[in-house]
Amino acid sequence: MPHTNSTDVLLYGSVNEHGLNRAFELMQRQRPSLFTYATHDIATHPDKLPPAIAARLAAIEAANPELKRHGYPEITEERSLPVVFTGGTYALDYAVHLAVAAIDIDPPSVIAMPPAVPLPAQRMALHVEVLGAVGIPSPAMVSQLPPLPVTDKLPELKLDLDATNPTVIGPHDWATFQADLYLVGGAAFHGDRVKVFYDGLTFTGVFDPHIEALLEAYARLVVQLVVVPRLEARIPTHRVVTPGKLPAGISLPLAYDVALSRRIAPITANTEALPNPSFESDEVRVFLTVTQVPVPPPANSTPPAGTDPSGTDDGGLPRGGPDSPPPGGSTTTDVTGAVSATLVERVFADVVATLTGDFPGDTGSGVFKLGYDAAFHLRNDGAMTPTVTLQDDGTIYLRNLHVLWDRLRLTIDINIPTWVIGGDCLLWWEGKCAIRTPQVTFFGANPDLSIPLALDGVVNSSMSVDVGGRMAYWRNPARPPTESDWDAHVNKRPNGWRFRLNTPHVLVEPIDIVDTINAAFDAAVNVELDKLLKGVDDWAKDIVKAFLGGVAGILKTLLGAAASFADWLAQQLNLKDGFLGTVETLVAQWLEARFTIPLTEDPVVLLKPDPVKRVGPVLVPVSAVKLTINSSELVLEGSLG
């Protein structure tokens, strides 16, 4: 069943619970400070951690030795826990470690949910293990503290979290607790933004049920008042993308707004509207629509409100270089992206309308050598409309690509036949020439003439392209083999995944040359011949031209059986093993080389490094990336972790 349709779901993306769990596992391993909190003395002296939490961090360090090597912090420092009624004078140490045990998406398959919070349809569940400890001072330590002033009235009851420099009573022992937090929620596109909600939250563990109920009520308020609004604000509803970096000489001023679909049209015969995002079949699914928008201003100016201005970014990955065998890893499909055939057609039409090229070069060798300086655009009118078709055989077929050459300057090199004066036999001896008169030879160079020829508006060419695509892996040659993924990312030399065209099959239709080119070519040859004979008297030029048979003689030698230069040029250009074949090969090679599109570095950056907090990136390896094409859509799949 296709993931997209031809109306308002033009893009599709999904990630399954296996991929999310793997991503959270890697996040806990690479950024433990997001999951571990402690007071100053404990955070700066990890040897003082409560044993249970110290064991958890030791396991993380064992799984990721890079943490220690880089000196990244594993604990986020928090304020100490005030002792109430002391007016902020005294506080206690504590430590908390959260472990995302699992994520489960409808239907339930990963987490054994407690009866209080079942996982309903179109929802996802989160199970977090909470491991905490509060430092308990000994009575002897407390007795040595300076006494607090005794007043008639008790100090105000407050947590005094804003107290400055309280006296933290060090732990004599740890009061450790462990609980499991289960949270069920979802999201829905509502109005012009994504609304996040949750259906339930519960604690299970060592707490007394009454205390758990109290905590749950408190936590629900925190989630509803604090967490949900922040999540909603952070989820973008649309994003402007541009073509990114393009080959030199190619101009393509296009931009698109990729947005969550406001209304999901039925993908199948089922007319029931579908939620977006959708939590089903163990996946989170997002359905998007795409609209062409004006090209945004340069990146350093202020983007339109409400948009994510980052656009497409190939992360600096190069387009050149050979492919490499992809790394090993999971082969299950965790993430899926799909592009509808309709979107491919729309973008192709936009590309045809806006694409222009401007490039010099040369090709050919031997007797016929052709240099060119060209600029082109694609014809797109009522009589000639380029089309693109995704085919069920896994290929993309481009038809009616009619190239209009805004500038096509050729240089045709001509080799004039060698001309000899003299060499007559003076004496014959028994049927053989014993001695000949002196002789001189001319036009022995190759080529003798280089004829510049402007074919702007004279030559048109049509071509069709049949091409498939694939995902290819690229290993950065600048990266030392022993360099870690973290170092490679920081040093800007990561490996990556890129989209590549399979060697395209290009068919160029026979090229027509208009007859008016004949006179232009005759004149050009005459001019070049006169340049060649510069400094020679007119009578001598006439001798040379008589020997050559005039310009017509040169052309006859060049053209062979062709009736005219136009015919000859058309013949030459249309030879399958000549120019035409060369163009087809060049176009195929050009497409293959130029349309290598860097997609993402590997591992993918889930969280960027933060130099201020001195934390490294969170990287998630991507493996088993593959691209499939059918008549409905183009599908990209990959595995996380």
């Binding site: 002196p438 004979l533 020679v536 001798i543 048979g549």
Partner: protein
């Protein structure tokens, strides 16, 4: 196109002043060592050693006549031999030797005399740069002088400039007229000149005395008397659109 410019700068022809496409042919009937002097404006500017050897008959044909293998001597090249090349040449007795000055700007003449001392032991051996200078010419008449051709010699040239030329034997009484047609450009048909016209230079003049040549057609003069052949442009033909002009 310097080569073309150089070629078309040679208008007149003189057997005593060889240049361009002009050449003389002489056959040496006696074997031996000869002193070859190269002259520019009647002044000797270089010498070389000419060895005339008995020609070997073909293998297994001891009674057969020697093969008439012609030789070519470019005076300009002999005057300025390549570094390391011997300043000598060897030809077969009875074989025609063609002298010209194809690669030189200034016209040259050549005078060949018997060597005063035969450089025995040097034949077949490479000579140093100064070896030919050690050979002195013997007194007496020259064996060959391009300024004074004799019976059996040949003068050939190709007159490139269209027009009318005066033909003369400056050492005899002969004179004549040579006309060279203006080229006709036939579109698509490359022009190829016919073979050379041959005339005789006799004691009483040229036979025939008037010759018509097609463009770039050669003329060959067989010498039957003492002669120095000159061909001098008297009226240039600048073609049907530009008309004829009288040469100064």
């Amino acid at each position: 196109m310097d080569k073309l410019e150089s070629l078309f700068s040679h208008i007149d022809a003189d057997s005593g002043l060889l240049s361009g496409l002009s050449a003389v042919v002489h056959t040496f009937d006696e074997a031996g060592s000869f002193h070859l002097g190269i002259l520019e404006h009647d002044e000797q500017v270089a010498t070389s050693l000419l060895e005339v050897q008995h020609a070997e008959p073909p293998a297994g044909e001891s009674d057969a006549a020697p093969v008439a293998r012609g030789h070519h001597a470019d005076l300009a090249s002999l005057r300025r031999p390549r570094v390391g090349a011997p300043k000598r040449m060897t030809v077969d007795r009875g074989a025609p030797v063609l002298f010209n000055a194809a690669s030189g700007e200034a016209p040259h003449a050549v005078v060949v005399r018997r060597a005063a001392t035969s450089p025995a032991g040097l034949v077949g051996q490479p000579l140093g740069a100064g070896a030919a200078d050690e050979v002195e010419p013997a007194p007496g008449p020259a064996a060959f002088d391009s300024r004074a051709l004799g019976p059996g010699d040949i003068f050939s040239t190709v007159l490139l400039r269209p027009g009318t030329y005066a033909l003369a034997n400056t050492l005899g009484a002969g004179s004549g007229i040579v006309t060279v047609d203006y080229p006709v450009i036939t579109p698509g048909v490359p022009y190829r000149p016919p073979g050379p016209v041959t005339i005789e230079c006799n004691e009483d003049g040229f036979a025939p005395p008037q010759v018509g040549l097609k463009p770039c057609q050669g003329i060959v003069v067989h010498i039957n008397t003492r002669a120095r052949i000159t061909v001098t442009l008297t009226a240039a033909d600048d073609g049907p659109t530009r008309g004829a002009t009288t040469a100064s």
